[in-house]
């Protein structure tokens, strides 16, 4: 199998993640960009495509144009993209399409936000609640955690999974984050601490929910024939796919099966691989339940088997499917669209063998998945070590 024509993920970078009150949102974009450029062995003038996402703290209607102005660059192609938690993966899919079609050589995909320091916690929670339907959800006080809690309650009912199994996911993610120097939360937690943290929306407790962090991440996607110009041209995009079933929870066709099924199936078909070929998976984990339903809906586990597997440690570094090896949104951090991009960054580093204590041995094939809304918009990527 040769991948000579597939786009390269040529550089990755992330800022520190956590409370960064000294940084602006655009400043975090710049920091992440510099990290990715240095990693790729490129300079800013090599970049001829720029894809940005969105910011709650600095809500420009044309963020990518503002970012290019801030950096003093005039790319051949730029746009901003909004797909909630699926944004990061979708940016990579679009960047690859641009370089494979010849519209650009090196596309910078950059995401950042500073919701922790740039807005109040209440402000961030209220902004997220705006994802709800303005007439049929928001007037009822449906928060994002409450929407996922409705998914969780139904999932527990249908599968017999337990809150202990949800808690095991949170504990595993924290253990991974403890091995990453940039993670927001690195202090180990126990099942008991997760299950006795305060209730946010039953059955979800505080430690079932992702963090709110400041931070940024950038990935450069380069044309296949630029390999000679790059420092580490080793990771390629083998396949990508999307799946979309709804935006609002009240319109979701199922509470246990989601567009991740179609997104992953399309990405796997394009890559010519299957779930059992994957060595490491970086899958969106806005809540513990998010990962659990997606693992089964995608097909990594049979219905009802992901929870017991998590409890047995099978999502750990030496498990059957090492998952969210950086600690995910639950413990590495979640800063808007950068949250999903951290998963891409980690997958690239795993495939290059750069992860030290958290390295998955002989990782050759990685799966990345992002979802936005309430399991509404999905994008999957299959990355390969070339």
């Amino acid at each position: 199998m040769t991948h000579r024509h597939s786009a390269l993920l040529s550089g990755v970078g992330n800022t520190r993640v956590g409370a960064l009150p000294e940084a602006s949102c655009l400043g975090l974009h710049a920091q992440a960009t510099q990290g990715a450029l240095a990693d790729a062995g490129l300079s800013l003038r090599d970049v001829d495509g720029v894809i940005c996402a969105y910011s709650f703290v600095e809500p420009y209607p044309m963020l990518s144009s503002v970012f290019c102005e801030y950096m003093g660059i005039q790319p051949a192609v730029t746009f901003s993209l909004q797909l909630g938690g699926a944004t990061g993966a979708t940016m990579i899919m679009q960047a690859a399409a641009l370089v494979e079609a010849g519209y650009a050589r090196h596309v910078l995909c950059v995401t950042a936000d500073n919701r922790l320091s740039g807005m109040s916690r209440d402000g961030a929670v209220a902004a997220l609640a705006g994802f709800g339907h303005p007439e049929f959800e928001v007037p009822y006080g449906l928060s994002i955690p409450a929407a996922y809690a409705l998914v969780a309650q139904r999932y527990l009912h249908e599968t017999g999974a337990t809150v202990e199994q949800l808690a095991a996911i949170a504990v595993q993610h924290r253990a991974h984050a403890a091995l990453h120097p940039d993670a927001h939360q690195r202090t180990p937690i126990t099942l008991d601490e997760v299950m006795h943290s305060r209730t946010i929306a039953s059955p979800l407790r505080l430690l079932d929910c992702c963090l709110i962090s400041d931070g940024g991440a950038a990935v450069i996607v380069s044309a296949a024939d630029t390999a000679a110009d790059l420092r580490a041209p080793r990771v390629r995009l083998l396949g990508a796919g999307q799946g979309h079933t709804h935006e609002h929870l009240i319109a979701a066709p199922s509470l246990t099966d989601f567009g991740c099924k179609q997104a992953a199936a399309r990405a796997f078909a394009r890559a010519g691989v299957k779930t059992t070929d994957i060595d490491v998976a970086e899958i969106y984990d806005s809540f513990t339940i998010t990962l659990l339903v997606e693992l089964e809906s995608i097909g990594f586990f049979q219905r009802g088997e992901a929870g017991p597997a998590a409890a047995r440690g099978e999502l750990g570094l030496n498990g059957r499917l090492p998952c969210n090896t950086h600690g995910g949104l639950l413990s590495f951090g979640h800063s808007g669209a950068a949250g999903g991009m951290f998963h891409v960054v980690e997958a690239v580093r795993q495939l290059r063998g750069e992860c030290g204590a958290r390295q998955v041995r002989d990782a050759e094939l990685a799966f990345v998945h992002g979802d936005g809304g309430v399991l509404s918009a999905h994008c999957s990527l299959v990355l390969v070590r070339a």
């Binding site: 209440d122 929670v125 209220a126 997220l128 609640a129 339907h133 303005p134 007439e135 049929f136 959800e137 928001v138 007037p139 009822y140 006080g141 449906l142 928060s143 994002i144 955690p145 409450a146 809690a149 409705l150 998914v151 969780a152 309650q153 139904r154 009912h157 305060r198 209730t199 946010i200 929306a201 039953s202 059955p203 979800l204 609002h248 929870l249 009240i250 319109a251 509470l255």
Partner: protein, 132 residues
């Protein structure tokens, strides 16, 4: 201030109905498909829609007890129970379960009641356990 709906051309008949104590939903006059939220076209056949009146009975598809309010407007309301209700006519609503007499369960029967709001033109449908 509670966030209240601003009816538009798609939803106006729904909110006019709730103000009269009627729960209305869209049904396609061509294929019979029941749909919610209201839209300009039938999702199944793109046919013509008409408004039908629901009997206001359904079963809980899922529920949660919300302890952390999404905004200042709901801080005095927590904890409250949100339920996704599968209405007998084949559409799904998100409602608050008012004054539950027993713990909510999936499959439990509920019926719709109508609550006035700060806006005299808007009544919000809510759920109560059947038999109340």
């Amino acid at each position: 201030m509670m966030p209240l709906p601003h009816p538009n051309a798609d939803s106006r008949a729904y909110w006019e109905g709730t103000a009269l104590g009627e729960l209305r939903y869209q049904r396609c006059s061509d294929c019979g498909h029941a749909q919610f939220p209201p839209r300009a076209v039938c999702l199944r056949c793109a046919g013509a829609l008409q408004w039908a009146r629901s009997a206001g009975q359904g079963s809980i598809h899922s529920y949660t007890v919300v302890a952390r309010a999404p905004s200042a407007a709901f801080k005095s309301a927590v904890p409250y129970v949100l339920v996704l209700v599968d209405m007998d006519e084949g559409f799904r609503l998100l409602l608050t379960l008012r004054d539950p007499q027993t713990a909510p369960t999936i499959g439990q029967r509920v019926r719709v009641v109508f609550e006035s709001t700060e806006d005299p033109a808007i009544c919000l449908p809510q759920a109560v356990q059947d038999g109340d």
